[in-house]
Symmetry: C3
Subunit: 262 residues, 3 copies
Amino acid sequence: MKYETISITQSVGSLTITFNRLEKQNSINAIFLTELNEVLDQAEQDATCRLVILEGQQGVFCTGMDFTEIARQESEKDREATESFSPSHYMETLKRLTLIPKIIISKVDGRVVAGGVGLVAASDIVMATPRSQFSLSEALWGLLPCSVIPYLIRRVGYQPAYQMTLTTLPISAQEAYRIHLVDELTETLDDSIRRLKPRLLRLEESTIGQMKQYFRKMWLITDAIEEQAISEFSELLSQPKVRDNIRNFVEYGQFPWESQKQ
Amino acid sequence: MKYETISITQSVGSLTITFNRLEKQNSINAIFLTELNEVLDQAEQDATCRLVILEGQQGVFCTGMDFTEIARQESEKDREATESFSPSHYMETLKRLTLIPKIIISKVDGRVVAGGVGLVAASDIVMATPRSQFSLSEALWGLLPCSVIPYLIRRVGYQPAYQMTLTTLPISAQEAYRIHLVDELTETLDDSIRRLKPRLLRLEESTIGQMKQYFRKMWLITDAIEEQAISEFSELLSQPKVRDNIRNFVEYGQFPWESQKQ
Amino acid sequence: MKYETISITQSVGSLTITFNRLEKQNSINAIFLTELNEVLDQAEQDATCRLVILEGQQGVFCTGMDFTEIARQESEKDREATESFSPSHYMETLKRLTLIPKIIISKVDGRVVAGGVGLVAASDIVMATPRSQFSLSEALWGLLPCSVIPYLIRRVGYQPAYQMTLTTLPISAQEAYRIHLVDELTETLDDSIRRLKPRLLRLEESTIGQMKQYFRKMWLITDAIEEQAISEFSELLSQPKVRDNIRNFVEYGQFPWESQKQ
């Protein structure tokens, strides 16, 4: 099977998904979400697969929602078209990562921005190289990382999640490790996975699934909270001010705070 | 405008509130809460103001509820008088700090005790010098930091908040940074704020407000929990044993555990 | 009073419970839970007692549920017999540790496994030597640490609790300190307790009780969550696959992943 935005590598017990939209900074568009979910389907059908590994390329893990696609959506009708980035499809994908009976490992070497932080936060295990960095830039555009926040709070606690959202500044891999956004900081990602893999392969698929279901019940995130995240993000994204901010950036390379000065 | 317990400094985009009750160790009384809220009103009316900075003086940030005022309240009627320290006014002030569409920065250089820790916990950003220290001494008096606890748990997690309450021991600025009570540890508070300010000024006031509203929905604190905090604290404060403890300290400088030994 | 699985030492203001089932790696069986609760009864009746200290022996703190006892339970009827390990009795004991108006200190020097981690997580204060280590091995057997998880999440946050459950790997005392499973890392446990004790003895018994009640209200754990933990664990424990795993280990020393290979 051939994909447009990702590529796949299989080995014993694991499947690696390499994000492959470098020309768009590995940002998330509708096709990316569809293809990612197709590969998760494939992993679910393979009883021997225990691990699903997510990785970027050339210093870019994932930079969140594709702004160029958003800028092209002129009307409400465009936004509802199935080929557009959909906040609910993104949120469902995060939820699926946290419930699928496979161990999701984010293997980070480089930049993780906005919605990319959500993929990392929803992963079971996060490994990162020291050069990696993580940022939530949404507020600069008048947006909020609505869908990322519940999973980020779950992973790092309230205050570190709030700080990242408020300051919009990137945090280093070391800081990400300190707050538990990264579980292992390593120069050698493949070696770290190789060492952990035999241990993880001892778990039954059913045990992994039960564990993920059980932990969900032990925390704050409910279907209602996820729906709230979707509707709040959609609401923010439909504001004329926010759409102008995004369009001015995509078309003229102008940041919101620059236009304010004029 | 002239205040009795605080003083105000304005600069572009920010307003600094300096606690000015050094003769009472910058403790919190009814006037302090009223004046603090008046300045927050003023900040809300100024659309150019993004940051509200809280600071102490001469090695004292804030030492919590003013015991001398509590000791003077002989009757239930005294306690209900509007000029007394009111647990509900304190709790409402903490809540307001977490919802007002301004970025609240606590700039700590010195001692933070009891209700002072609540002001810090409810701040959006906390910067502190290495000589700062933080303690919850309430339990020594037969009290509990009821209003502080929900916001402290939100900021530092359950166990560190519980430890501070139980041991009543001060923690160092380094430890406060480790548990996320302090977001930045710095010798040069003003430089740190100067570096962060341009980034924070890029946020719209409406975005700050929406962010604070949204994060509240993503956590455990509800109006019901705040009401419970107020009623539980008022209940504890009305116990004869606790009132004796406070009166003996204010009048004779005697600590509860000293009188127990007699 | 003479106990079979523990021994008791009393001193001014405190009572030490030493786990004394070294021939079974200080694992938890029905008698252990009964005796532990009897000593907690005794502590409750002693108004001068403020601290209850839990400790292991010879490098073993506690290794969780006794597998040999489980392996002997052939039928549903056996499992309901009062002399067997009962998931609900274990959960009630954890809850009791978190609500009893005494300060529970776990003094750890060595291995803590599975249900032993629950005793630690439910303690008010945890002190450990650098050679201590902590692991949740349940998932290797097709089980989950259902009763441990809510108290572990409360103490260390969601992600560290999830990591320990998923990887099943032991974490070092240093890592346990980093995530707040251990409150003080020390080579000299007795000195650390001696230093802290006078401060803790200043608290009234009623204040300790009110504090523990109040903190329970400020967090996610409810009676419903505890009942869910009991029923989910009992369900997992009754699965034929899990019982085979345990029996093969007790009778032939064979691990589940070894039998899978055959």
